[in-house]
Amino acid sequence: MSIVPKETVEVIAQSIGISNFSTDAALALAPDVEYRIREIMQEAIKCMRHSRRTTLTTDDVDEALKLRNVEPVYGFASGGPLRFRRAIGYRDLFYLDDKDVEFKDVIEAPLPRAPLDTSIVCHWLAIEGVQPVIPENAPVQAIAAPSNGTNNEQKDGLPVEIKLPVKHILSRELQLYFDKITELAVSRSDSVLFKQALVSLATDSGLHPLVPYFTYFVADEVSRGLNNYSLLFALMRVVWNLLQNPHIQIEPYLHQLMPSVVTCLVAKRLGNRLADNHWELRDFTAKLVAAICKRYGHVYNTLQTRLTKTLLNALLDPKRALTQHYGAVQGLAALGPNVVRLLLLPNLGPYLSLLEPEMLLEKQKNEVKRHEAWRVYGALLQAAGQCIYDRLKIFPPLSSLPARSVWKTNGIVATLSNKRKTSMDLEEQPPLKKIATDGPVDAVSTSSMPTPMEEDATAATPLDNSDADHPSPSSVQIPPDSGSESRSKRDKGDSQAQKLSAILPQVWKDDLNSGKLLVSLFELFGEGILSFIPAPEMSLFL
């Protein structure tokens, strides 16, 4: 009936030397033991409360015993929980594992380090009711947690006023950091310090609170400082580095950031001096835009469409300055070959017809304008070339296929020859090679008149299609970075371009679209485009 069994009472009696202890007495004492224990524990809880604690310690029990004028139980420290062990052979008998300690060991043991002395530190828990974000205060997550508490209160039906956080607190350190960075960006963007600052922007983890401020700063400065080339470049680099920072969630601020970035891409004038290499800025910004689209395109699915629309509008508006056109072309090009193919190439013809007069010395007297036109032309060329190169790159896996395995696929390939991405037919290789080797010889005659040849090529392409020739011989490796490679081969390419053009149609026989594309590009750009044909193809033709 009592939680203290009579056996316990009997054991205690034995331990203090009462041998003839009747069961009745034990039975009578058991409830009283429980009562006393409860009484003492209730006193102990009082002592605990007055020690401003919420966990009961053995000290509290000792205090409670003192209150009752009972000798405290010695030998129990509040260091840790008592470890009871089960007695072997008994299911419900436990004892305290109290190790024997040698005096010698205790005496000889080195003195433990003195515990640190109590001291007081002082901080602001709140300033006019707002908690500053400092290490001494509970972290922000802990602040958010009590909001559940208010919700709970609401369940009670209490009128609880929930205030939305209106103030955003920046710690002093962050404010200083922000001031420093902005100052560097505005005034000393070419210093080494700024480079280090950019590294810090790209890597530091605690900058997230600053993102809205940076966004605003960039937008503000771009709108004011369009004449200041170095500032703009610095700002774009700031954005770029913020984008690189893995600890920052920049998505929510993209809608504020994009206008200023696009401005730097397609603005009419960037910088006010001739020396300002605004082309470089536009190139950089184009890369930046592409990076943003690549990273957040899946989050904001309208991001890329809106961007391309803007750029295309800028490009196709003949009233816009050539610089703007250049920016648009670069922007589109940076978005990838698919964008170029779908949006840029269809408009290429009409646009080039507009651009052509600007480039000619006799039509456009203004040298600056002419230079700009050439720039645009170059950009277009590069974009188209990149695109065509990309098309060609579709095939590299095939090139690495071992020749034998391809041989086996012969029959199938032959039947599917018309389809894109069909395996090339290596049967044709020897003749191709032959053609390739013959190429220069054939091409020599055509050098002077590319256009008619082009027409021939277009005519030839469909016819040759059925042959399912493939341009990439398996024996030749495709260089990973075609741009540089192709450029390095540029001289060669230039010299041989005329000759190549004749063979070109054959190269694209397998792919009607690609072939047509290249042909049309060639039509527009002339031999310039050939520099973008990857080296293997080049070698093929040589």
């Binding site: 009936m1 009592s2 409830p31 009283d32 429980e34 009562y35 224990i37 409860r38 009484e39 209730q42 009082k46 409360r49 007055h50 020690s51 401003r52 604690r53 919420t54 966990t55 310690t57 000290d59 205090e63 003192k66 209150l67 509040s78 515990p115 640190l116 002395d117 109590t118 001291s119 007081i120 530190v121 002082c122 901080h123 602001w124 828990l125 709140a126 300033i127 006019e128 009711g129 707002v130 908690q131 001494e136 205060n137 509970a138 972290p139 802990a142 602040i143 947690a145 009590p146 508490g149 208010t150 209160e153 009670d156 209490l158 009128p159 609880v160 006023e161």
Partner: protein, 698 residues
């Protein structure tokens, strides 16, 4: 059944139970019956139902199983009753429960008592957990006698307010019979009416035990009309030892809660007026004159009339918000101090006035700044923390019997000289958190021989009092860094000590269930306040120094008149031990915080709870009112400082006396970094200081 036998049985039963009146009535009846030869039409004796009912009396007089049986019947009947009545009926259940248990114990049915208790304890755990824990251990009749709580329960009646409809309900369902009804004066009329009902119910169950308990232990206050809502909870919940009527009587006494006549605030008002008039604000002057006219009128009166005036004032005050504070202060009636209070040095007075002038006005829109003093490396030894009025000194009482005092100004200087280049000279105190020097950063006061449970700074910060488990209170001088006096008088650990707002006097509270008033120059207490039924855990002075409030483990707060030593108010409503108290600066209100995290705000004049403040999840260690009384700050073991809007709630109370909706608003919760808040102190300029010990375990 033999007629005479039954009559005799009834007569002996009544005699045995001591129902002499009923017995006499029966005897008279029998006499009459004899003379009139059984002409009584309602013949009890011929009624088989009734005789069967009486028979059961004798058969199961002491059957312990009956308690369980009948209680469970009463319980299920209560729970299945209409929602409208259920609430009130549930209040009946708890006293019946504990008395059933105690009856069982008293009769020696220990085993049955334990089973009974365990079966039904869950029903009451939410409301009465502490009491149940106390009672649980009671296992023999001797314990009942020994244990004060049980003893007082058994020797007093519980007051329960119940509406008339329910009263009838309850009793009809319990098969009211004649002698019970006769005992209850309220129901004379009900007697005739219910006889039919009674007979109807008689054949169901015979819950005589329950009936006996209800009759013996519970004092029903039958009120006409519909059952009341939950609002009267407070009075029902607490079963205190003292007579409820006595408590009510005590609460009828007059409390002069007004401020002191010649307080500094008063003077500030006057000086403030001068400065105002310099700005040529004629309107203000008029208002002030108005107030001056009103003041003597108000001084005499108390209570309701003033409330009304205050309400009017409040409406006026909204127009001129800048002078709101002055208004509320001036409307409070003035009282003369009963104690001879010390005279304040003029320079101190000047500095205080300066502080008051520069005080930041706090409201729900303007929250205070909080400077937090964190004790580190306390090794769980910090028992209490105390902050001086201006926040420059912080004292900590430790379980190793020591009292340590930190001078925050010095702490700052050290940091300046050792650490930085001294660029922060303009911001002397809080901004600099520097590493302490090699030397000890505090002053150590040693003298106690037990854990120090409380410390209190004198208003000027030149003395500290500390109370300890060694039953003594010690007075220390912060100037001399030495112990001046050791006050012995308590017989048990002294839980709390507090200086009078004017200094010189102080109050202490102890485990010996008394609170005592002392003066610095006498080693004997001036007054002993006895009356609490358990430890007096905390003590606070009223702002006008004529009263002290004490909070106790008996779950009541009491207000004592210092000059007479009488208890003038009992505040009943808390459900667990009271840990902290605070008095509002206008003297009208008092806040008390308990172990469960509930804070209650009381109106001293009426003795009623203005509103409970729910929000903390653990012990409320400390409470503090802002200097103009518009905010209440509370610090708790759940590692938060909460700020409560006090003005809105009191206004709601004044304008529309709605119950339930007028809870105080929690304005802000400031979580600390795993640091329970031990102490809070508003400076005179309304900067809030808080202190606590960093506990790494949480």
């Amino acid at each position: 059944m033999d007629e005479l036998q039954v009559v005799e049985f009834v007569a002996t039963y009544l005699k045995k139970k001591g129902f002499s009146e009923a017995e006499n009535a029966l005897q008279a009846e029998i006499q009459r019956n004899k003379s009139s030869n059984n002409t009584n039409p309602i013949d009890i004796l011929n009624d088989p139902e009734l005789s069967k009912f009486f028979r059961t009396f004798s058969e199961s007089e002491d059957g312990p199983a009956r308690y369980q049986d009948e209680y469970s019947k009463l319980r299920s009947w209560t729970y299945s009753s209409l929602d409208l009545y259920k609430h009130e009926l549930l209040h009946v259940l708890y006293p019946v429960f504990i008395h059933c248990f105690m009856d069982l114990v008293a009769k020696g049915h220990i085993q049955e008592a334990r089973t009974f208790f365990n079966n039904f304890r869950e029903d009451h755990e939410m409301m009465h957990l502490r009491d149940l824990q106390k009672l649980e251990g009671v296992l023999s009749p001797s314990h009942l006698e020994e244990m004060e709580f049980a003893h007082s329960l058994r020797h007093s009646k519980v007051n329960i307010k119940i509406c008339q409809v329910l009263y009838l309900f309850l009793f009809t369902s319990l098969h009211q019979n004649t002698y019970i009804v006769k005992k209850s004066n309220h129901c004379q009329s009900f007697y005739q009416y219910s006889y039919e009902l009674l007979l109807q119910y008689l054949h169901k169950t015979q819950s005589t035990k329950m009936l006996g308990i209800i009759n013996e232990r519970i004092n029903f206050q039958v009120s006409p009309g519909q059952p009341s809502s939950i609002s009267d909870d407070a009075e029902i919940v607490t079963l205190i030892g003292s007579n409820q009527d006595a408590a009510n009587q005590i609460n009828q006494k007059e409390v002069h809660w007004g401020l002191l006549e010649d307080s500094l605030e008063n003077r500030l008002e006057k000086t403030g007026l001068i400065s105002d008039s310099e700005k040529a604000e004629g309107e203000n002057k008029e208002a002030e004159i108005d107030e001056n006219k009103k003041r003597p009128v108000e001084g005499g009166k108390q209570g309701a009339s003033i409330k009304k005036l205050k309400k009017d004032k409040a409406i006026n005050a909204t127009a001129k918000t800048s002078r709101l504070e002055a208004n509320t202060v001036s409307t409070a009636p003035r009282v003369k101090p009963d104690l001879a209070l010390p005279v304040m040095p003029t320079e101190v007075e000047q500095s205080i006035l300066e502080d008051l002038r520069n005080r930041v006005h706090l409201s729900s829109a303007a929250l205070p700044s909080v400077s937090f003093y964190t004790f580190i490396n306390t090794h769980n030894g910090l028992n209490c923390a105390s902050i001086s009025q201006d926040g420059s000194l912080v004292a900590g009482g430790f379980s190793d019997s020591s009292l340590k005092v930190w001078d925050m100004a010095k702490l700052g200087q050290q940091a300046v000289s050792s650490g930085l280049q001294g660029e922060n000279d303009t911001t002397p105190r809080e901004d600099i958190i520097g590493p302490n020097g090699r030397k000890r950063s505090y002053t150590l006061y040693q003298g106690h021989s037990g854990p120090v449970y409380s410390a209190s700074f004198s208003p000027l910060g030149d003395f500290i009092l500390s109370s300890s488990a060694d039953t003594t209170i010690r007075l220390w001088s912060t100037k001399l860094n030495a112990n001046l006096v050791c006050y012995k008088g308590h017989n048990y650990p002294v839980w709390d000590v507090q200086f009078n707002p004017q200094g010189h006097y102080f109050a202490s509270s102890s485990h010996d269930r008394t609170a005592r008033i002392w003066s610095m120059d006498r080693i004997q207490p001036l007054r002993i306040m006895a009356g609490h039924l358990s430890d007096v855990d905390c003590v606070r002075w009223h702002i006008n120094c004529n009263y002290i409030a004490t909070g106790s483990s008996d779950k009541t707060v009491r207000l004592w008149d210092v000059s007479s030593g009488e208890c003038v108010r009992i505040f009943i409503g808390h459900r667990s031990m009271i840990l902290s108290l605070a008095m509002s600066p206008d003297g009208r209100y008092m806040a008390s915080g308990d172990e469960d995290g509930t804070i209650m705000m009381w109106d001293l004049a009426s003795g009623r709870c203005v509103t409970p403040l729910m929000g903390h999840t653990s012990c409320v260690w400390t409470l503090a009112y802002s200097c103009e009384g518009s905010l209440l700050a509370s610090g708790s073991a759940d590692c938060t400082v909460k700020l409560w809007d006090v003005t809105t709630s009191t206004k709601v109370l004044k304008t529309e006396e709605k119950s339930g909706t007028n809870r105080l608003r929690s304005l802000k919760t400031l979580p600390t970094k795993s640091t329970p808040v031990y102490s809070l102190q508003f400076s005179r300029r309304n900067l809030l200081f808080a202190a606590g010990a960093l506990s790494k375990t949480s």
